[in-house]
Symmetry: C2
Subunit: 185 residues, 2 copies
DNA sequence: CCAATCGTTCAATAATTATTTAACAAATTG
DNA sequence: CAATTTGTTAAATAATTATTGAACGATTGG
């Protein structure tokens, strides 16, 4: 992804808006690093500075983009728990706020991604290890093939260990213990 | 990114190759999650199973893709330290190996990404905080504008704390202390 | 209960990214 | 040192993803 050329954000009027723009760009670049659409990252940045809950209409105005795209964007942010929808509405319109605590945002974003990774890999490992083991155990498997299967199995067992460790890591991340030495909140 | 339809991998001949294919697909999906080109992720998977060093030619044959693209792919893997180039060559051809220790691969991949994030964000914060502070200190700043700037400054200071914490986290990640409880190596 | 409006989805289009082909410089062998 | 051969890059093309506009059901306010 890349800085979109369509629907460019409105030009900074004050110096403060210019500063915000720089931080928003850095945030969007950062999120882009992890596979998040650059524009969706920008929206996070805008919501980060906007202290009040925002409507889709407001987002549309800030980003100069279609409401449709804002709908997709805000949903993506909600999926990775970087934003949330409020229960209240403002004259029929849904309201959304960004998670402005970077520590919590980090926790949510990575925990979500890592958990998805674990689920995908565990799914594949669980599907492959049993029949691979079976092949090794079968009498009519050639000696050469058995040797190759054993090597693969060894690698997959290493992967299982890794993903068990990673699951503990994610649990710890969610528990908050890594944030114990933090300064501020 | 998405499973490429061009240059599809050769069909599995043995059951073992089919199993490998499933794991390779899961690995590629996983890397895709973090913004890595799916095909490049597949290449990592192939190198992961191939125990010997590989040449570009070999990669080309395994993936049914151009040597050019394999050159790009292997470089991306090297950049995130998931693979490395050997000093030796095999009849003029460069040799590459994948990092097969998932713990080390994790360490490298995330440390690289997170460090890039820290650098981008610190760059923006360092560029913005001093002039923003200056604006607040200036006499001819309106009361309203000063209030808004102060709110922004507060948020950015929180971000600085976060990135200081994240830098310590990355240092710890690189030191290996998070892997102390691991089972296997 | 009707008219307006919100948010979502689908299909179309625009924009970006992935991949290839071709050209080239560096290295190497005979 | 000439002829190959390698790996990289640039430009062109193919494929995918992002964004929009329009259509629709749901909701709500009159």
């Amino acid at each position: 992804m890349k800085k979109a050329t369509s629907g460019k954000m409105k030009k900074p009027a004050t110096q403060r808006e210019e500063f915000r723009g720089k931080i928003i760009d850095a945030l969007a670049q950062t999120m882009d690093l992890y596979g998040v659409n650059y524009s969706f990252g920008q929206l996070y940045g805008i919501m980060f500075f906007e202290d009040k809950p925002m409507t889709l209409e407001k987002m549309q105005a800030s980003m100069n983009m279609s409401k449709s795209n804002m709908s997709y964007a805000v949903r993506a942010l909600i999926d990775s728990k970087m934003a949330s929808k409020l229960k209240e509405k403002e004259e029929r319109k849904d309201l959304y706020v960004a998670e402005t605590d970077f520590f919590k945002a980090f926790q949510s974003f990575f925990a979500t991604k890592l958990q998805r990774e674990i689920d995908v890999m565990r799914g594949a490992l669980d599907a492959v290890i049993p029949p691979l083991s079976e092949t090794i155990l079968e009498l009519n498997t050639t000696e050469e093939e058995r040797k190759l299967c054993l090597e693969d199995l060894h690698k997959l067992k290493h992967a299982v260990n890794y993903y068990e460790w990673l699951q503990r890591f994610v649990n710890d991340l969610q528990s908050g213990i890594y944030f114990e030495g933090r300064q501020d909140g």
